[in-house]
Symmetry: C3
Subunit: 363 residues, 3 copies
């Protein structure tokens, strides 16, 4: 892939300066850039290492004196982080897979494949499955009975979509992710210790140890358009109704979405996030890595949770939370400060007790 500075600027809706016909093969950090790379020098501190590389052209910040940086050409990005999206799309070399249906793929005769669908080597497409036009099913993937995947999707190696899962258009799935495992749902003949402890907040009473009987998952998984799933993440089926993930929501590696969970639109769930059964997550929610959400909890729209937050009760819309348990971020920051000084507080109180006791005795 090779583009001129002019072509790149046009594709990004940005402005080109200098040698607009300079040909570019890739993008690189300033210190690593070759003469055919566009260096990413979108902040002055990044530009400082331009001299260590061989870049003749760079993406620079608004108002940068690109000529003084020794460049022959420059592209100015008004919002540098956003421009990264267009730039990386332009230069993405892809996975290098062949198109078409690989002869080793096992495609059921009743499956329905749209125009220009590719199915990689050793993939399985089950009976009655429907794959929308232009979707790429990578190598060693599995698409179950009557599952439906929309148009323009891209499934990386080893993705597993179970029976009857419904997925919208432009779906992206990273390697090894699993959609449609059975929910983790069991019940005991009599009230269990967990049910008792939940009701009493900690007391199991005289409940007896019992073995667990399985509740089967009859519900499916329904995923909207423009959803992306990370490597080895898992999304369980619902018990009766479907587990649902709204349009534009992005889910990272090793995330776990339990049965019946409802997730809104345009939310981000980062690595190792766990959402327990029947929890509801709103729109435009961002949960940082390792955040956990208890079952049956509601997390409102636009909530942001910092790293490893443990959400044990409902969070109202718009709140920014952190900590175990989740509290407003500024409260948790105060708690963190307090914990560091906790020993001193104990000492102060001990000292006070002594002083007060002495002064009373001396009264």
């Amino acid at each position: 892939m090779s583009y001129t500075i002019e072509q790149i600027a046009q594709a990004l809706g940005a402005t080109a300066f200098g040698a607009a016909d300079l040909e570019i093969d890739g993008v690189a950090e300033p210190a690593d850039a070759t003469a055919r790379d566009l260096a990413l020098a979108m902040k002055p501190e990044y530009a400082e290492t331009l001299g260590q590389g061989a870049a003749r052209a760079a993406m620079v910040w608004e108002g940068a004196d690109w000529q003084a940086l020794g460049l022959e050409a420059a592209i100015v990005a008004p919002r540098p982080r956003y421009v990264m999206s267009g730039l990386t799309t332009l230069f993405d070399p892809g996975q290098g897979w062949d198109t078409g249906i690989h002869p080793t793929a096992v495609v059921h005769e009743t499956a329905s494949l749209g125009a220009d669908v590719s199915v990689g080597p050793l993939s399985v497409i089950g009976p009655g499955a429907q794959i929308g036009a232009g979707t790429v099913i990578g190598p060693q993937c599995f698409v179950g009975t009557e599952a439906r995947i929309g148009k323009g999707g891209f499934l990386r190696e080893g993705v597993r979509i179970a029976a009857r899962v419904q997925i919208g258009d432009r779906f992206i799935a990273q390697p090894g992710c699993v959609v449609g495992g059975d929910g983790f749902s069991y019940v005991t003949p009599e009230t269990s210790g967990v049910e008792a402890a939940r009701a009493t907040l900690g007391d199991q009473g005289d409940t007896q140890a019992q073995s667990w009987t399985r509740i089967h998952s009859l519900g499916g998984v329904e995923i909207g358009d423009d959803v992306e799933l990370g490597s080895n993440c898992t999304i369980d089926r619902g018990t009766i109704r479907s587990t649902r993930i709204g349009n534009g929501t992005k889910i990272d590696n090793l995330v776990m979405i339990g049965h019946n969970v409802q997730i809104g639109t345009n939310s981000l769930l980062c690595g190792h996030v766990g959402i327990a059964g029947s929890a509801r997550i709103g729109n435009n929610v961002v949960l940082a890595g390792q955040t956990g959400v208890s079952d049956n909890i509601f997390v409102g729209d636009n909530v942001i949770a910092g790293g490893a937050t443990v959400i044990l009760s409902n969070v109202p819309a718009g709140r920014v939370v952190l900590g175990y348990p989740a509290m407003k971020m500024d409260t948790t920051m105060e708690v963190f400060k307090g914990l560091r000084r906790l020993k001193r507080l104990f000492n102060d109180v001990a000292e006070l007790k002594k002083t007060v006791s002495n002064s009373r005795q001396s009264d």
Copy 2:
């Protein structure tokens, strides 16, 4: 699948009322129910939405006036949550897979398959492996050398059972789970910083940085009867003795069971639970999502741990714990309350110090 109200009630050991010959094709939440669904209205608040759907029959609570709810038939469930088990078993449509040995499966000539065993497309059954009667090995599964799986098991797509793993009857494994990876066990030629820090609770002393030498896993994994494993969970082999999981224990998605771990019977380990090497977990233990157990720790029978609990030391039988570190649930609930008021406590103490100091000066 179609059953009459009478047939369903009989299968569940429940009581049918009204039009017992009404035919039912599925179960649904009240608002979503069609005229051929059994609506799940097992609590008065669920029944309120019956009018939004078209249900003619419902599962209702004991004493419900089902006719007043506009129903033609009803089934009364004494313990509604438990009845869900029988009901979902009845209506589970399954995965829709063909039976028999798929021609693309690679089954070693020395493997031994019981009666009515199915092996899905592109699965591998290794030398000397034994699969019990009626077990279904799904698509793209792997069963290693001399592994043994009992009768009536069901392995979903992409399950991996390593060499010499031993598994009992009625095993259920969700997609992508891995049994029998090597343990994470390394050693340095001289005492490592970790060993020193453990001995001193925090001081690495003058230990030197070293590289790690591998301890191979010679032990296997032994899994009892009626065990279920979640999607993409991982269970490591033991070093010398086997990692063991008792009868009736259920393990959720993305759970990690380290080498040498011993888990008792009828325990539940929810999503993202991590059990470090050589820990022992008792019978009827319930660990909520993201709970972690340190290596070599003992967790007694009937222990319940709330979400994201971090268990760094032994927990006696019957205790209900929560928090980081794990404490009795009511203690942790008090701590949570205290943390929210911690800033005020610091202010109170500062105020007290001032008051006491002033009053002493004024003495």
Copy 3:
């Protein structure tokens, strides 16, 4: 596999005593040992159960009176834990896989395989991939376009190495691990609530809900020599530069390494550890299970983090940390003690306030 006591002692650089020609088929814990096992009795407390087994020979501690223990032969290990490495290497039975290229493997004609490379059943080796001499690619593995794996590697069942990933020699990968998924990197057209909340530590200001645009991952993954990856762990590609893992680093099951992360040499990352994007981890770092590291954070050489530590800010070299948030281990241990006494502290302060208030009133 069968060795004499003399052969075993020689292989370990240890000293044999007694019947040096006794033949040994395996290793076992004392109580489980047969007459042909070497019992592991490297501490006096382990030796106590020798009588429950049938061992004729054991590995014992320095200075042990092995004859008094009823043994015919003994090997003395100066550092018992270290000797486990050699001993388990000696007796590892391996996976029992056939060598050579399995006829069902899909190896691209442009892939380059070194001498004595094995490729298991139903594995895929992509165009231009290079596999070094002696490397074993297990069953159902995937090696992508132009990926490179060095010499003497061992990939267990279902490992997935994406396009252009570069891996050194003696690589070990446990089942289902994924190297080279795309980074989790998105951007909004205007400043997002997350960006605002980060800048203000908790305030989203008047940012508007927006949908997320994808930043593609152009960087690769570069892994050094002697690296081991655990079951179902995931390592993402970098955005521009590569994600890098240094020589001798070992990564456990279900660990998540985000895009652009740099990890040094000889570090250990235990189960469920999550490293967010662009974090840097030094050399000889040990992160215990479930530890999380925020994005763009730096963790210095020789840092040790205890179980479930949440690292939200830089950690200087050599520090031993624990807790949420990560603090020096002894500080956190003090905090844990303080939390258990927190309720009493609130009571003490309440009491003090009353006393002081009374005494002032009585003044």
